[in-house]
Amino acid sequence: MKSFAPVLTVVGAIFVIWYGAAVVLNSAWAYDKAKRADVTLSFSEMVTDTWSQEKPLLPAPHQVVKEIYKTTVLKKITSKRSLIWHGWITLSATLLGFAMGTGFGILLAVGIVHSRAMDMSVMPWVIASQTIPILAVAPMIIVVLNAVGISGLLPKAFISMYLSFFPVVVGMVKGLRSPDAMQLDQMRTWSALKPTMFWKLRLPSSMPYLFPSLKIAMAASLVGAIVGELPTGAVAGLGARLLAGSYYGQTIQIWSALISAAVLAAALVALIGLLQNITLKRMGMLR
């Protein structure tokens, strides 16, 4: 609660800048239009115009809000013009990809921590894998997966997974290795076996590392799902809205899709934060 006022201030500042930027960016078009229509614009007319263009370079916040309101509240959820419907499509791919990425990442991390050979040979390539512009390869992945009969949700989820497994691996390797030498020795004095050590020591001590990674992974996963929707042909989903908006120069639609995606991301990340608080509190790690 302490950060309520500061956040409000910053958000307020952003809005002010936003409105200002809208005037600056859209004014050229307003003047251009006026010139062709042979009228002269007063400053206030220009400002109102920049905040109400149909296809502005930068839509004003209230235009975006109106669009979002129109496409969420006023449309039936099942309607293809409802942002909620598109959001749900993206969300399902995101969640599936996130689940797969997290699972894969944790498995890989367990392997890396327990096998030196794996640590030395796989880890550099995990890093290299992230330097491949998956976003550029996404269309091919979708086509190739289509070729082997996988279509629909899975190809998108696959791209999400590719983006989300990396932070999980990195975080979990760090976390599973976080028990110090003394804690490991302690287990050895009780002659605990490797599985016991894993369940009773490594896994619990990795929790503080896992959750921040999950937050990053969730955000990455959403990006993956959106990118996966771009090439599948503007069928459905927030990515498709972005693309269609871009295709028809509908900046208001782009921004509303973008803002919805951000809200979705924030909600998902907040959800993980909540889970983190509950888990860590039960584990007594939250003071």
Binding site: W29, K33, R36, K55, S79, K80, R81, S82, W85, H86, A138, P139, M140, V143, V144, N146, A147, S151, L230, P231, T232, G233, A234, V235, A236, A240, R241, L243, A244, G245, S246, Y247, Y248, G249, Q250, Q253
Partner: protein, 307 residues
């Protein structure tokens, strides 16, 4: 019923009205076909989709299809519902363009992804370099919209008669502000939106039979769409999953599309084919195709379908 999947070249819009009408009006089921229409997008290469087995039939432009043939993918044109090309270059008058002679030194927006071939062969015909050297034109890879011309980043952009041109108009520029160069008029038109299948599949009698029925039903759809443009546009809108299309735009598009499909009964006109090939072969230093294609089209299907 037999399953047929069709890969479109672009997103769901009136450009593909014939197929959606055939599906919606039950022309396909009348032929005992179960058709799935897969929308395309900016990064979907139909040729790649069919190579991967993701579709039975794809819609593609002939230059891109022929180029794929040279890459070893045996694409065969089985029907050509579009008689004329809808492609054009739209320029702003105030950028100082009034004829192709003015192109030199200007910035032109072009689509790539296999759609650049007609442009390249036109430029080579005009003798204009496209690699940025002196006296040539500066080429810009245009995104999915017409922003470059609206913002003055390019003097001309690629448009289709039925789509992007109207986006420019909608954005507030009037037809008087613009000059258009139709590829059709410049003698560099190439065949657009033909139906292509893999050559090896055509050896299979059952597949051929399926295609015969498919082409017949599709052409029925096209003719219906030409006759009832408003209804066709409505059907397309119903099938648009992105919910981004507007009725006004689709109706207008349907009207323009009807002009392009008008002269075709579905069968490929060998003369049109040859014109396309010649224009592509004459691509100067960097020709799109290097030799006369053989077996790139067949009348077998249309002959059977249209009888």
């Amino acid at each position: 019923a037999d399953d047929v999947s069709l890969q479109l070249k672009w997103v769901t819009q009136a450009q593909f009205a014939g197929y959606y009408v055939a599906l919606d009006k039950g022309f396909y089921s009348d032929e005992d076909l179960n058709v799935t229409i897969k929308p395309g997008g900016p990064d979907i290469a139909p040729a790649q989709v069919i190579a991967g087995g993701g579709a039975d039939v794809v819609l593609d432009w002939m230059p891109s299809a022929l180029a794929s043939r040279e890459k070893g993918l045996d694409l065969v044109n089985i029907a050509q519902p579009f008689k004329s090309s809808g492609m054009m270059l739209t320029c702003r008058k105030d950028a100082g363009v009034s004829s192709p002679a003015d192109f030199a030194g200007k910035t032109l927006g072009v689509w790539f992804f296999g759609n650049e071939y007609p442009f390249l062969s036109w430029m080579s015909k005009l003798g204009l370099a496209t690699d940025g050297s002196d006296g040539g034109v500066t080429v810009l890879k245009q995104g999915f919209n017409v922003d470059p011309i609206l913002q003055g980043q390019a003097a001309c952009v690629s448009t289709m008669t039925y789509n992007e041109y109207w986006q420019i108009i909608d954005a507030g520029l009037s037809a008087d502000d613009l000059v258009v160069f139709k590829y059709e008029d410049q003698g560099v038109a190439t065949l657009e939106d033909g139906m292509y299948v893999l050559g090896e599949n055509l050896k299979d009698a059952a597949f051929k039979d399926k295609m015969v029925r498919f082409v017949r039903a599709s052409m029925k759809g096209w003719k219906y769409a030409e006759a009832n443009p408003d209804e066709a546009a409505g059907i397309v809108l119903d099938n648009d999953a992105s919910g981004a299309q507007t009725e006004k735009h689709q109706k207008r598009m349907m009207g323009e599309i009807a002009k392009l499909t008008a002269g075709s009964n579905g069968a490929l006109d060998p003369a049109d084919f040859q014109r396309t090939v010649d224009s592509l072969l004459g691509g100067g230093s960097d020709p799109v195709i290097t030799k006369q294609p053989v077996g790139a089209w067949t009348h077998e299907i249309t002959d059977a379908a249209l009888n």
